[in-house]
Every structure is written in structure tokens, then in C-alpha cells.
Symmetry: C2
Subunit: 521 residues, 2 copies
């Protein structure tokens, strides 16, 4: 919605350096030409001339700006360009069918439905295309059959009665079918089908054809829709397919990553009054903003999950991949993002908290947020690689023990007499919300582990496990009495981040872990 | 997605009391009939018979359940039923046109486009219908003209070249137009138009007609689309219209109301450990949940604002009503809702905060939330009634002075030695986030006042103002140096809530107000 002003004031004779060279000869001519006419007339002429000359520059600027936007749009997601070419391809393919003489002789003008089907059904993702195509096909079949039945029925009422019966039926079915579109479940999955049902039924019922003509028409329409639909599905699946499921998969992983970005950058940003001003501060700030898209991604998640259900098995996804579980994870990530939004308000505010108090909570707070960030990061990369998030629980446990440290630090702070409650409340709030975030992060991790189970994500590679057996003493995971008992292993140089292990301390034991690391800077 | 089990186990002979009476005679017959066949065969038969008998009960249950859902859907928003009837009406109207003999003789099968247009264009709101109708009409006109031009051009290349040129043009225009659909602005407003452009252009270019036939075809298609579109717009506007703008207006007011609901109920819920358990607790809890829909209403707000722009002046809304301002208010309300979500977590959690500390912050916290709630409530009802939110600023000022009291209470708490920081952190966090919420509420109020200015909401009625002049000393509002100077007036028994006034204390003066009320229970 930006209004782009021309780059120079229209009255200027020398619009822009790049243009000056090309028009300098004309400038001299025009400025020396009407010298006898007096300064006023000359000024007006010059102004008009300046404006006329401005047009190509403006046009050029607009064109450059437009080209930049087009390029950006394509660069942001190159699949957009590919999709556009695919639509062109499908249209050309279907029009070739149209040019085949025997086909044209058989179907004539009805062949146009194939083109209509391609234009209307072809969507960005395979799932959406399949959903629309199948909806369109089934609805046409059903409505066609019903329409022909209605014509039979209407015939029984004589010439006058026929029109009345048909009009009533159209009213009745049109209204009823429209009402079903308000059912949330039908709205989500069959909205387009109901629309096509009303469309086809009305067409068949109103057209005024005799029944034998109708059957031919219905047959032609169905065949051409099948040709159009098949072309769409063929091009969508076999030419650089875009899978809604894969997009959902990546979106959820990306959203969790964005939350991790915030938690990773947050400590450095919030406690920076204590350190020398970080040079990376500016780049960190974009990290602190990224979570915002998570707040409003509900609708797109739901659409993609809906389309993903229509998709056949592809790549790493089986037919009955647990897409609903992604929605669950997405909802939890969003709840986490709400709390992050609250913390973000405190990071941005300029309320001065005494550095002495900040220093007390700095180390444990940073550890909480960094461990929570690592847990989320592990979940995100586990989803991306479709591997079990083996380290996530460890990081959650670390975060929890850091929470205990943070609580201890808060408890100890009270003893200090120099602390004024009113001044420290903002920082205490940040700490408290951070503690709440750890609970959300734990829930996200649990649901990601559940997803890994449901979708049979692969276990960490055997080689890796064996390496671990050599480095530390791994006791195999024992399942007893519903509680998972497992063991911490310290493997110093395995992953890029701190430690990596199979699983972690005894479930639900809240005792401070003996091997908590010194707080990270 | 609920799976409804049959009400009784299929093996039971006596499915349900209501069914028992009706079938008792048959039961006797069937159970006494095959007595010679032994217990086993009898048991199997009885099971099968039980199942067969179960079918009508199941069918009845399903039907009842379905009817309940249909009724609920209709009761939730009766306009849904009306909309369905309107679609039926528009379809019947357009089919009547189709039955008119001179029209049919002229257009023949092309008349079907009128029906297609009605089905495809008729939407729930007037704005959406207009948007689709205008998009469809303009796109058809443009694409038809371009298509005929392309046919002229293609003719120049001979019989063989024609097909190639046309196929290339279809590919090129199809791909380009599809790409433009990715521009966010085009996506939001002209998506359907671009779709129809591709559709019509392909149809015209591929159809293989001669040019003079094409012009006739284009003419017919345009006329029938106009008839269909006009029918839609006529029915949409003149039969119980649903205006997107009005819905947006009500949605935004409703969202603000939901936030006010939470803030009103929150104090009672959070501090209830101090009072006897409230009997209204259960109803209050639904008040605490309502804000959740605000978190995810962004998409619907944007769609409605988009459609509202297409709507003509209607009811209390002029043609250029500032719909964008509603989006601004909606976004601020959502930010407020994020913070409320954080507080809600603390209300639900069972962390035990010492009652002594809660008692210290109870009064000012409840005053903050109740005044903020009143400010929001005033804004919401001002939007609903399209009147200036005259009292909102006063309530914001009250809330701010309550914030000062709350801060003072927090400052005083430090002096007490019995307070343990760790234990009071959750309550302090709630207080701190509450203080943050007041800032958001102030922003919402400012934008609502801005909306009132932009949309020329009516000032509080003259009678009311005169009443006030009699009761208190009103100094007229003075605008000086960019700052609005105004005056507090105490009018005890005017509105239903506490005080009501014209405007409030000097802008930006942060000094505690002298006339702060005693904290409300």
C-alpha cells in the first residue's frame, strides 16, 4: 500500500544524474528556444516540458521498482515461478487435447469444460489440487444423476407443472446445500464440492434439455472434467510437486526454530546492560522478532493439514501420516509464543532494573533460556530430519534444573537489603514468565516425541549409539510401572552443542541434578 | 470428529426403554419360536435380531443428533438460514429468466452462464458478493477483448501457425497471470478476477471459433454474467442484507468486550483464596475463557475489512468509512490478549502465593483491572453505538492512578520481613503484567478515539451534556499547543457505572489524581 512518489520534483529541469546526460542536448535547445517570450511564459513552458520529460523517468522508475518486487517475490519462494509455469503447461496440454480432431468432433463446445477445470482446480499444492479435483468430479457425478432424476420426475407433471417442479427443486436443493456449507467440517473439506454440486444440479435442472440429451451432456461434462482434472493432477504430482504435507512439516519445524531463536538471543539482549554493548546487537534484534509470525499461523496450519490428508504417500511421508499431531504441536508452540510476546515487551521497555539484581538472576535466567532454546532446537531439527528427538528431554531436564537455580537465586535475593521490590518486579516478571515458558517447552517436546512415535521417526543411527557406548556407560532404557527410567551419559565431543545422550534423569525426580554445568555466558 | 457409539450394546435384546414397548410382541414371538434349535442357535439369532432391531434406534438417534446440530447452527446465527434461502431465491429468479422464451431463443445454451454466475458469485456478505461480481465482470470483459485480439493476431500466421501462436499465448498469459496472484495486494482483492481472466482468455483463445462467432459468444457471455451478477447483487442487498462492514464493526467491539470480560472477572478469580468461595465462580470461568477467540481473529478481520471496502454506504456507515482503523484496533486488542493469555496461565496455576502478600496487592490490582475493564467496556459500547467514547480516557486515567497505587503497594511490601521473594514472584508477575496491560488498554482507547474522529461518531447527546452542565462545572475543551487540556467532572448518578464525564485530566500529567476513589471490593 506504499505510494511511491516520483524521485524528483516535477518542476526540476534536471531530473536525475542518469537522465541528465541523455537529454542534455534537448535541454539546451528548449531553454534557449523561446527566449523572446519573457521569463513567465518560459518558466511555464519549462515546467510543462519538465513534466513531459519526467514521464519516461517515472515510467522507468516504476518499471524498475516493479521488476524488483517481482524478483523478490520469485526469490522468496522460487516455487511460485515454477507453479506459474506449471499452470501454463497444464493449460497448453489441455488445449492440445482440444485441438485433436476426433475429440473435438465428438465433444465440440463441451471440450471447454476441460479448460475450465484446469483453471479452477489447479492449486499451489498437490493436496489442494487433489481435494478440488476429487470434490469437483464427485459432485458433478452426484449432481448430474440427481438432476436427470429430477427431470424424469418433473416430466410426470405435464408441460406447465414441469417448470414449477424444477424451479421448486432448484430452490430446495440450492438452499439446503448452501446451508450444509456452514457445517465446519463440510466447510473445511467439501466446500468446493458442495458449490459444484449446486452448480451442476442447477445447470442440469434448468437447461431445459430432454432427458436423452441430458445424459449425453452429463457424459460429455464428466469426461471433459476427468480429462482436465487428470491433467492437473498429473502436472501437479510429476512436475516439481509442492506437497502441502511437506510444507506443514517444515512450517511447524520452522515455527519451533523461531521460538528457539528468541530464547537464544533473549538473554544477551535483556542482560546487555551488564556487558559491553554487543556488536551483534542489530542482528540479534531480528532474531527477537521472528517469533511474531508464529502468533498468527493458525489458519495456514489448518489449511495445510487439511490438504495434506488428500495427498498420497510421498517422499518421507506415508499415506496416513499423523497430520493432526502437527496441529497439536503448532497450537502449543503458539501458546509458547504468547508468553514470549509478553517477555518481548519487557526486553523492549526501558524500565530500569537495578543491575545488582539483574546480575543475581542473569546466570540462571540465561541458562534457562539457553537450555529451553536447545530443547526446542533439538525438536525442530528432529522434525526436519524425521529422527527421534533423543536429546530434547535432556535439555528440558537441564532447563528445569536451571529453573530450580533461578528460583534459588530469587529466594536468595530477598536476603539482600538493598533490593527494592518495586524496582525488581520487571526483572522478576521476566524470570517468572521464563519459568512458565519452560513448562510450555516441555509440552512441545512431549508432543514432538509423541509425533516421532506415531510417525515412526527413525532412531538415532546405530553407529552413533555405539560410539556412545564406548564413551560412557549406557544402561539400556528400562520401562517399569509406566515410568521411563533412563540414565544420563556425558559424551563431551559428540554433537555441536554441549552434551548429547540417549535419555535423561529419572522421570519426575525434581532433585537438583548433581552434574549441572556452570552457567553459560 | 466425535464418533457416536450406538446407545446400547448390540447383543442386548432390550435396547432402550422407549423401544422396548413397541417391539415387545415381536420379542416374544422370536424368542419362543425357534426353541427346538438349542440355546446356541437361539443366542446367535437373538444377537442378529438385536442388531437388526438396533438399526432404527441408531438411525433415530443419528437423526435426532443431526437435527440438534442443524438447529444449533441455525440458532447460533439465524442469518445462515436466511442466506441459504437467499441463494435458493436467486437461483430460482435466474432460472425464471431462463424460461422466458425470447431470452432463451436469443441466447440458448449460453444462458447457463447466468446460473453459473449466481452459484459462484453469491456470498454470505454484500461486500464479498460485490467483490466477486465486479471481479468477474471486469475480468471477463478484459479477457474477452484480449482473446479476440489474440485470435486476430493468430490468423495472420496461417492455418498451422495459428494453433502454435494461440497455444504459446495461452501458456504465456496463463503463467504470468498465475504469478500475479502471488502479489499480496492482488491476492487480497483481485484473486478471483485473475482466475476468471485466465479462464475466459483460455476459453476464447482455445475455442477455435471464427472472430465474428467469438464476438457473439463474448457478447452473450457478458450479458448473461451481467444478468446473473445483477440478480446476486439485488438479492444480496435488498433481501435481509449481511454487511461485511457491520460484521467487522461488531466483531471489533465484541473482541474488546471479551477482553473487558476477562479483566472484570479476573480479580475475583485470582484473589478468591481470600474471600469465601464465590458461588458465581463457574459462570466467571467462562468469562475468563472468552478472550481466546481474540487471539486468532486476525484472518477474519482482514477478510471482512477487505470486503467492507467494496460495500456502498449503508445504515450508519458512509462509503469511505475508515475500515483500516478497525484493523489497527483489532491488532492492539490482540496484543492485549497475548498478555491476558500470560496472566490467565497464573490464574489457572496452583502455585501457592502467601495470602498476606496477595492481600497487599489485592485492592490496587482489582482496581487496575476493573478500571481497565471499564475503559475497554466504554470503548466497546462507544463503537457499538457509534458515539464518542467520552469516559474511556477517564477510566484509563483511573487505571493509571491505580497502577501508581499498585506500585506503591509493591514498594511497601518490601519493608515487610515476612515476605519471601520466591513465593511472591507469581503474584508480583501478575501485577506487573497487569500494569503492562494498562498501557495496551490506553493504546486501544486512543485508537478508538481516533476512529471516532475519522468516522465522525456523534458526540454524547446534547441533553446529556446539558444535564452535566447543571450537575458539575464543565469548562469547554481547549486545544492549545497540540495538547488537549480538559477537565474532570464528577457526575455521580449519570451512567450505570461509577462516574461519567466529558474529558479528563491534563494530558501526560502523571501526578496522582487527588480524587481517586477508595479501592473497590
Amino acid at each position: 500500500m506504499q505510494v511511491h512518489e516520483p524521485v524528483f520534483p516535477p518542476t526540476s529541469l534536471f531530473p536525475s544524474p542518469s537522465f541528465k546526460l541523455a537529454t542534455s542536448a534537448m535541454d539546451i535547445e528548449s531553454s534557449s528556444g523561446p527566449a523572446q517570450g519573457g521569463a513567465r511564459a518560459g518558466g511555464a513552458l519549462a515546467r510543462i516540458w519538465g513534466r513531459v520529460k519526467g514521464v519516461p523517468v517515472m515510467a522507468k522508475d516504476k518499471a524498475v521498482e516493479f521488476a524488483t518486487r517481482v524478483r523478490k517475490l520469485g526469490q522468496d519462494d522460487p516455487r511460485r515461478v515454477i507453479h506459474s509455469l506449471k499452470v501454463g503447461l497444464a493449460l497448453t496440454l489441455v488445449s492440445l487435447v482440444y485441438y485433436v480432431r476426433p475429440f473435438y468432433d465428438g465433444y465440440g463446445i463441451s471440450g471447454i469444460w476441460a479448460v475450465v477445470t484446469v483453471v479452477v482446480v489447479f492449486e499451489f499444492t498437490v493436496g489442494a489440487t487433489l481435494s478440488k479435483g476429487i470434490n469437483r468430479g464427485c459432485a458433478t457425478l452426484l449432481a448430474g444423476a440427481l438432476g436427470i432424476g429430477s427431470q424424469y420426475l418433473a416430466c410426470l407433471f405435464g408441460k406447465q407443472g414441469e417448470a414449477i417442479v424444477l424451479a421448486s427443486l432448484v430452490f430446495l436443493l440450492g438452499a439446503t446445500a448452501t446451508f450444509t456449507r456452514f457445517f465446519p467440517r463440510i466447510k473445511a473439506r467439501y466446500d468446493y464440492g458442495v458449490l459444484i454440486f449446486i452448480l451442476t444440479y442447477s445447470m442440469v435442472a434448468i437447461s431445459g434439455y430432454r432427458v436423452h440429451e441430458l445424459i449425453q451432456l452429463a457424459h460429455q461434462r464428466l469426461t471433459t472434467i476427468l480429462i482436465g482434472g487428470a491433467t492437473c493432477v498429473f502436472v501437479a504430482i510429476f512436475v516439481c510437486p509442492v506437497w502441502a504435507g511437506e510444507d506443514l512439516h517444515r512450517l511447524i519445524a520452522g515455527n519451533i526454530d523461531k521460538l528457539a531463536d528468541f530464547l537464544e538471543a533473549f538473554g544477551g539482549e535483556y542482560f546487555q546492560c551488564l556487558d559491553e554493548i554487543n556488536e551483534k546487537s542489530k542482528t540479534d534484534k531480528t532474531c527477537l522478532q521472528r517469533y511474531k509470525t508464529v502468533l498468527t499461523s493458525k489458519n495456514i496450519e489448518e489449511s495445510w493439514a487439511n490438504w495434506a490428508r488428500w495427498e498420497p504417500a510421498h517422499g518421507r511421508f506415508r499415506y496416513r501420516h499423523p497430520w493432526k499431531q502437527y496441529l497439536k504441536i503448532g497450537a502449543l508452540a503458539r501458546q509458547c509464543a504468547y508468553q514470549i510476546a509478553t517477555i518481548h515487551g519487557y526486553v523492549c521497555s526501558d524500565a530500569q532494573v537495578p543491575c545488582a539484581f539483574k546480575r543475581i538472576i542473569e546466570a540462571p535466567s540465561m541458562k534457562v533460556s539457553s537450555e529451553a532454546s536447545k530443547a526446542l532446537r533439538t525438536c525442530a531439527s528432529a522434525i526436519k530430519q524425521m529422527a527421534e528427538p533423543s536429546c530434547a528431554s535432556l535439555y528440558v531436564e537441564n532447563a528445569k534444573s536451571a529453573v530450580e537455580e533461578l528460583k534459588a537465586a530469587l529466594g536468595a535475593a530477598q536476603l539482600d537489603d538493598s533490593v527494592d521490590l518495586l524496582e525488581i518486579v520487571p526483572a522478576a516478571t521476566v524470570a517468572s514468565v521464563l519459568i512458565g515458558i519452560v513448562d510450555r517447552v516441555e509440552e512441545v517436546c512431549e508432543e514432538v516425541i509423541e509425533l516421532a512415535k506415531m510417525a515412526h521417526f527413525k532412531a538415532p543411527e546405530k553407529q552413533q549409539q555405539q560410539q556412545m557406548l564406548h564413551r560412557g556407560a549406557v544402561k539400556p532404557v528400562v520401562e517399569g510401572g509406566g515410568e521411563t527410567v533412563s540414565v544420563v551419559v556425558d559424551v563431551p565431543a559428540l554433537a555441536d552443542r554441549a552434551e548429547c545422550c540417549t535419555k535423561t534423569t529419572e522421570a519426575n525426580s525434581r532433585a537438583p541434578r548433581p552434574d549441572t554445568d556452570p552457567p553459560m555466558k
